[in-house]
């Protein structure tokens, strides 16, 4: 069972960033797919930045992120880079949460002139976090929506790369601390051997 988590840092509603995240997620065809909009967690992310503590709303999101087999990260382009909300989210992710995790990166903008944000801004940050960033990154400009551009082809190629990378890795799955308990008799045996109450 493969799980894919798509993260959209889009701020508007409706959001083309969300739209790209959903298109990519659907194309991966995983067993379980979820899209999270960071705008719904903006306050929680800010709280975390200030208190260094994930609140009850944010904790499950971070846990599901760590447990996902693959990630899709999509940001709008603000002043020729990723958005502040996107970076703030990466800033609160545990340093090793993305280690070795296949990540597909995407960005949206008003003009294709900012496409290289993916290669020069997003890719290095995720490399720093030791994620496995897939070769195809998908940029969608305003002109790509509703027009006959090659956006669909790029989405298919990128999603195919993510699916293949996830498939060739063992499932991440969460380690259940209660899955392999010490038998009760062993615990009793341990107590009965103690002499400090004698």
């Amino acid at each position: 069972m493969t799980t894919i988590m798509a993260i959209s840092a889009g701020l508007s509603q409706p959001s083309s960033t969300r739209m790209l995240a959903d298109r990519l997620a659907a194309e991966v065809k995983a067993d379980h797919t979820e899209t999270v909009e960071l705008r719904e967690y903006a306050h929680d992310i800010t709280d975390h930045l200030l208190t260094r503590f994930a609140n009850a709303r944010l904790r499950p999101v971070l846990r599901r992120l760590a447990d996902a087999d693959g990630l899709i990260l999509v940001t709008p382009v603000f002043t020729a880079s990723f958005s502040g909300l996107f970076k703030s989210f990466l800033d609160i992710v545990e340093p090793d949460a993305l280690q070795g995790k296949p990540v597909l990166i995407g960005a949206t903008g008003g003009t294709e002139r900012h496409s290289l944000v993916l290669e020069h801004a997003l890719r290095p940050v995720l490399t720093y976090l030791r994620a496995v960033v897939l070769p195809t990154a998908v940029y969608a400009a305003s002109a790509d929506w509703g027009n006959d551009t090659d956006l669909s082809r790029r989405i298919a190629r990128a999603a195919g790369e993510l699916a293949a990378e996830v498939a060739r890795r063992p499932a991440v799955g969460r380690v259940d601390p209660f899955a392999d308990p010490v038998p009760f008799t062993d615990l009793l045996a341990d107590i009965s051997g103690r002499t400090d109450h004698d």
Binding site: A80, S115, L116
Partner: protein
């Protein structure tokens, strides 16, 4: 009199970057500067590849840059960055070869998707060469440059975008020079 050097970093003989460089030189001369174009492809390959900065041709370029008030660095976009040929020359210059100079980055490419190569790839290199003032650069689409002998014809809209950038560079060079001699 202010002197300008235009470095053209295309390895191609029929280069649009080169043609655009000639065109910019003409415009800058018309604005009262002296301007010369250095095409990296015309420099001897051996010292470029072997990092021989003592070769007379290379030293001549380094001296010309040292004596210039402003430098235009023009490159085609190759693999989402500046050309390797341009970098060969830049690597042979002294560490702070652009200190005290005004620099204008100009890049040509086939798709606007590579516009940010100016700011993410080329600009940091120019900064590391100690450039005092790197003015806003410009990206020109290949198809907007028609090479002519010793010049280029620009698409009208491309020219309307590019000329104000070049003229602003020219103004900054003149302004800094006026301050320096005052």
């Amino acid at each position: 009199m202010t002197s300008l050097i235009i470095l053209s970093g295309s390895p191609s003989v029929t280069s649009r970057t080169g043609a655009l460089s000639d065109h910019l030189a003409t415009r800058l001369r018309g604005d009262g500067h002296t301007a010369s174009v250095v095409r990296v492809r015309d420099l001897p390959a051996e010292p470029l590849l072997h990092a021989d900065s003592t070769h007379p041709k290379i030293a001549e370029v380094a001296d010309a840059i040292a004596g210039a008030h402003g430098v235009v660095v023009a490159s085609p976009v190759y693999k989402a960055a500046y050309s390797g040929v341009l970098k060969l020359l830049l690597d042979l210059l002294p560490q702070f070869a652009l200190a005290g100079k005004v620099v204008l980055p100009v890049v040509t490419g086939g798709t606007p998707a590579h516009v940010l190569a100016i700011d993410y790839a080329l600009r940091p290199v120019l900064s590391s060469l100690g450039a005092d003032h790197i003015v806003p650069g410009w990206f020109v689409l290949d198809r907007h440059v028609e090479p002519l002998p010793g010049d280029a014809r620009l698409d009208q809209r491309a020219a309307e975008d590019l000329y104000p950038i070049v003229d602003a560079f020219s103004e900054v060079v003149r302004g800094r020079h006026a301050l320096a001699v005052a």
